[in-house]
Subunit: 169 residues, 2 copies
């Protein structure tokens, strides 16, 4: 089980970025995303992608994040530009039951204490979407992107020169 906690989600300011975070979590091998603020529109967007493209990805919004972090049975990894460089941190991180915490610009200080690992995808400012994508890609040894998504309405067939979309229903 690999899950993502998106903390600090504000509507409508973060709607688009959090959608990117959620779809990135799904596409790169996470099983679920939990979002602190309740956001039915976000749930609908993500669930409609799941209906169309398949797989078992779960989204829940309106989450008690403190309870989730405290009661998580596994490893908690907080992605932050201030943390330990991924190159040094990754070998220490178990690959099962990982909760990946992705915050907004300023997170509470207690995140740094509650997390088992504070990990930086380089110590430069960039994007929580980028951080999550590369963390998942490296955590899963590049295999997250190779996962099959079953049960969708369509499937995209890789094409070096155009678009091939197979209708399954």
């Amino acid at each position: 089980m690999i899950a993502v906690l998106r903390w600090g989600h504000r509507i409508p300011r973060d709607s688009r970025i959090t959608t990117h975070v959620a779809l990135t979590a799904r596409a790169f091998g996470a099983d679920a995303i939990y979002v602190d603020a309740e956001d039915r529109a976000l749930e609908e967007t993500v669930n409609s992608v799941k209906d169309r493209f398949g797989g078992n990805f779960e989204i829940r919004t309106g989450i008690n994040w403190k309870k989730l972090i405290r009661e998580w049975k596994g490893i908690r990894v907080h992605l932050t530009m201030y943390g330990e460089h991924i190159d040094n941190a990754l070998p220490e991180i178990p690959k099962e039951n990982v909760l990946i915490i992705v915050g907004a610009e300023k997170v509470p200080k207690e995140f740094y204490e509650l997390a088992d690992f504070n990990v930086a995808l380089g110590n430069q400012p960039h994007s929580e979407v980028a951080a999550l994508a590369v963390f998942l890609d490296r955590l899963l040894d590049g295999k997250g992107l190779g996962r099959e998504f079953h049960g969708g309405a369509v499937r995209i067939i890789p094409n070096p020169r155009g678009k091939t979309v197979e209708e399954l229903e």
Copy 2:
């Protein structure tokens, strides 16, 4: 030289996502970003990050994208969910003088023809920020994130339990 072309930038709709694209390009090892629409605010945001955190990253907006793509002396890689899977495409892609094209939701058909490679970071919908980050990380064998940024006002020292910011000026 590794550069990114951001196509289809609309103000203000894409301001935040394109900022993430630009900062991701910088942090993960690209040398420059070119944006089709003119956007002085975006230039200022990216240049202020460069002033504060260092390095030689270049941003130019208001670019004639057709001319740029046609006259690029090197390889043109278009990132798209419809393309060839990265696992198959990457071994064929040279690692020097690469122009990475990152589009908005719908790109002109000619992109698929103008590009030397149409590459998918998995054939699922997610995010151009995620696609760019993982493409750069894999293209540069994970070394893009290890690059040093000189000449900034501050430097972040990796810290597994908090924030350490060194003032250099």
